[in-house]
């Protein structure tokens, strides 16, 4: 495994530029008006439920599908203009295990290397580190059909990387594997990022968004959110969340007073009789203010801390917000 450098840095430092990317199958939209930019060296997480259009997007980006509308540039080229040398800089790991079950782990890796024109001389020395990278060195003589599902995913990852690609597309690489291995996978992805590679990763596990530099949320073929994980979280709830717990019950009057504080955004939510979940501008500045206010208003604070909601909740919130927005838009259109 080399200390990697992206060989052809595209103009503007973007690995991928997609503009109003649309794909229709017959009359049905699989992907609609999707636009995003992915800078070189970033991990882009594409999150969405099954059937939301993630794989179709990857296929549009890798040149398997032709867009119905819109433009896309990958490593500075439109997929229809991909040359062999551009393709050699792209790695693609499909959603399913598509390698050969009757070949050994090593033979599969060797096949993938040959497919990318890797010179047989010295190939062994180049492949072995990738085998170590995915921890399959001890299993290299086993047939692919005789290794576990997790090992097969790791083999597929190694096969995607053997030719040292600058841009790696991973279609649900962690699907169906246990949390420990998923965590290991993300460690590997960060290693790859640290080598300068750009990673485009799709996943159904919303929680994995936290590992990405940029996250796109795809729902029914439409990109409903695109931002950093932190910004998405903030956007989902309208700010950061602070949990306030007091020793005494919080009266309705006091709740009203908190609601009217300047840094509070949106409605506060009581959780029991002496606990509130408050959305604020900045948790770091809001917490001291809240403590002061409680002391001044006869409330003893049991605990005041920032609540970081899991990304599953963030995702649900984003979806609900999106649905509300769409509902409002359609209502306005009806009027």
């Amino acid at each position: 495994m080399s200390e990697h450098v992206v060989e052809a840095t595209p103009v503007g430092g973007l690995a991928i530029h997609a503009n109003n990317l649309t794909k229709k199958f017959l009359e049905e939209f699989a992907v609609k008006d999707v636009s995003f930019d992915i800078p070189v060296g970033k991990i882009f997480g594409f999150i969405g439920p099954s059937g939301s259009g993630k794989t179709t997007t990857i296929r549009l980006l890798t040149g398997i599908y032709e867009p119905t509308e819109g433009q896309v540039q990958v490593l500075g080229k439109a997929p229809k203009d991909f040359t062999a040398s551009i393709r050699e800089q792209i790695g693609y790991m499909p959603q399913m295990f598509v390698l050969y079950p009757d070949l050994s782990v090593w033979e599969n890796l060797n096949f993938a290397a040959s497919l990318y024109g890797m010179n047989p001389v010295g190939r062994r020395a180049k492949l072995t580190p990738w085998l170590d990278f995915v921890e399959l060195t001890d299993h290299k003589t086993k047939l692919a059909k005789n290794i576990s599902g997790g090992m097969q995913r790791r083999l597929a990852l190694a096969a995607t990387l053997v030719h040292d690609p600058a841009l790696v597309f991973l279609d649900e690489p962690t699907a169906g594997i246990d949390p420990v291995l998923r965590s290991k996978f993300w460690d590997r992805f960060r290693d790859l990022q640290s080598q300068g590679r750009t990673l485009f990763i799709t996943t159904q596990y919303v929680g994995e968004a936290v590992h990405c530099d940029i996250v796109g949320v795809l729902v029914a073929g439409q990109l409903v959110a695109l931002d950093t994980p932190e910004a998405l979280r903030k956007r989902a709830y309208g700010g950061e969340i602070v949990d306030l717990e007091t020793k005494e019950p919080i009266t309705f009057e006091k709740m009203f007073q908190i609601q009217n504080m300047d840094f509070v955004k949106g409605r506060i939510r009581p959780v029991g009789t002496n606990r509130l979940r408050i959305i604020v501008d900045e948790a770091s500045t809001a917490i001291p203010d809240l403590i002061s206010w409680c002391n001044e208003n006869g409330l003893s604070t049991e605990s005041v801390s920032e609540y970081v909601p899991p990304f599953d909740d963030v995702f649900v919130q984003i979806i609900e917000t999106e649905q509300e927005k769409q509902g409002a838009q359609s209502g306005a259109a009806d009027e």
Binding site: R59, T62, G63, I64, Y65, E66, P79, K80, A84, S85, R87, E88, I90, Y92, P94, M96, V98, L99, Y100, D102, L103, E107, N110, F111, A112, S114, L115, Y116, G117, M118, N119, P120, L143, F169
Partner: protein
């Protein structure tokens, strides 16, 4: 240069992969090589290259002379005709046929003698229970042989009777010769009255001769006319001609009774009569010496081959089996190849990778050609050395045809693979190709039996060309026939280009 090297590396990717995958399936190799070898071996051991014996039951009136003759002759008529008895009624015989206790029912004609006397042929009726047209044809052929044999026996008995009758003719000739001598003596002494008397007796003798000799003379004459006499006998006249001349000589005498004035002319005519009688006697002796069997069946046939090796049925079928097997291997492995890649999803990897459709198809061709050639080599060793099948031609020609066949068959397989949506569809199409080849490639049925437009199908099948080429190389020791090799390769090239274009379309963006 670098691009070319990268391209070669990509092509080689398939070589290693495909061979490794196949090597992982030793049972497949074993079945592909040993299977056909064992089938050929079993065929060689088990196939009896001799006509099938047919159990025959006759239906005839037990009291008729024909029934007696059937019983006497049936057993000895043909070794393929097994006499199973004579029954008087048709229904009993048909029941036995339906039960399968006999293979053939031969119903003798009712009152054959009267039918023939009425100037009609008396017909045997045959019943069989065969559903195989070839077997039905064989039964018909056997029936024809049986009837020919019956006819021959009737003719032999007629000839035998004719030959017996000619023994009586000898006495008549002797009497005629004696009357001629006495007539000559009477003429020389000037006894015209006595001469006239012997002239009348001589005339009577010749009339008797022509009556008695009629059928036999016509028979012999017929043989002579149809066959043509050989060079040494061209001066000899046949019996009919001799008789005619004799009748003319004696007729002339009868028309011109002997008179005192023309004795010398009459004596010279008697000399001619003497000569004719001698010739007639000679020809009759010849007729009696000829066997009746030779007379009624004067011709036989003996077939010889100009091939230097005597071929058995196994020898004959070996080239076809090799061809069908190699074609089937080629078609099947190629047919499953791309459809499997497409179904498993690896095709998606190819489409993202730098490998092109041309490199993919070339890589696959190369892999399967190597694998097919390896199988062909093992199979050939087993067949030619294990079964001792003769190889009269050149090994390099044999190898070239095998490679050309594999190339073309792979093309057919790839075409199937690119048209089929599923593996089962691909297998089904490969089996249809095999079935088509069994019927239309000349493997079982000679192409000359087919209606000419249908032969287009035959010549669209690679096996048709390869069977012809290998039969000529292996069994006749001929060189490669350029026309057939050209045809085989032309189909191969067309299939290669078509498969490549289809694969390119399949790998293109959509």
């Amino acid at each position: 240069m670098s691009n070319l090297i990268h391209s070669l590396i990509r092509i080689s990717a398939f070589l290693g992969k495909e061979i490794a995958e196949v090597v992982r399936q030793p049972r497949l190799i074993l079945s592909l090589v040993l299977g056909p070898f064992l089938i050929l071996l079993l065929f060689g051991i088990g196939y009896k290259n001799e006509p099938r014996a047919v159990r025959t039951l006759f239906v005839a009136d037990p009291d008729s002379p024909l029934a007696q003759q059937i019983e006497e002759n049936a057993a000895s008529i043909s070794p393929q005709l097994i006499y199973s008895g004579v029954v008087p009624d048709e229904q009993t015989a048909l029941n036995r046929l339906r039960q399968g206790s006999v293979d053939l029912i031969a119903i003798a004609p009712q009152d054959a003698y009267q039918t023939i006397r009425n100037n009609k042929q008396a017909g045997f009726t045959l019943y069989h229970n065969e559903i195989d047209p070839a077997q039905a044809g064989y039964i018909e052929y056997l029936g024809q042989i049986y009837v020919d044999e019956v006819n021959r026996r009737v003719l032999i008995s007629m000839v035998q009777e004719g030959q017996t009758e000619t023994l009586d003719v000898q006495a008549e000739i002797k009497d005629a010769r004696s009357n001629a001598t006495r007539m000559r003596q009477a003429l020389q002494t000037g006894d015209v009255l006595t001469a006239r008397m012997y002239q009348q007796r001589l005339n009577a003798n010749v009339t008797n001769l022509s009556t008695v000799l009629g059928a036999s003379a016509a028979l012999l004459s017929g043989v002579e006319q149809n066959v043509g006499s050989s060079g040494e006998n061209t001066e000899n006249q046949d019996i009919i001609a001799v008789l005619a001349e004799l009748q003319q000589q004696t007729g002339d005498s009868a028309d011109n009774p002997v008179s005192q004035s023309d004795t010398s002319e009459e004596i010279s005519r008697l000399d001619k009569v003497d000569q004719d009688l001698n010739q007639l006697e000679e020809r009759l002796s010849e007729f009696q010496r000829i066997s009746p069997d030779v007379l009624v069946r004067p011709f036989t046939v003996e077939t010889r081959t100009i091939s230097t090796t005597q071929m058995t049925a196994v020898d004959f079928f070996t080239p076809s089996v090799i061809v069908l097997l190699l074609q089937h291997i080629g078609v099947t492995i190629a047919a499953l190849s791309i459809v499997r890649e497409r179904r498993s999803g690896t095709m998606e990897l190819f489409r993202v990778s730098p490998v092109s459709s041309l490199e993919t198809i070339l890589g696959k061709y190369l892999s399967y050609l190597v694998f097919g050639a390896f199988l062909a080599a093992i199979l050939s060793l087993l067949i030619f050395y294990g079964l001792r099948i003769p190889m009269l031609g050149a090994w390099q020609d044999y190898a070239l045809v095998c490679l050309a066949l594999l190339f073309t068959s792979l093309g057919l397989g790839f075409l199937i693979s690119l048209l089929a949506d599923t593996e089962s569809q691909a297998v089904q199409l490969a089996m249809i190709t095999l079935l088509l080849s069994v019927f239309f490639s000349g493997f079982i049925l000679d192409l000359r039996y087919f209606w000419e437009p249908v032969r287009i199908v035959s010549y669209a099948i690679p096996a048709t060309y390869a069977i012809n080429l290998l039969q000529n190389i292996i069994l006749r020791g001929k060189d490669i026939i350029p026309l057939f090799m050209g045809g085989l390769l032309a189909i191969g090239v067309v299939l290669f280009i078509t498969s490549w274009l289809l694969l390119r379309r399949s790998m293109a963006r959509r």
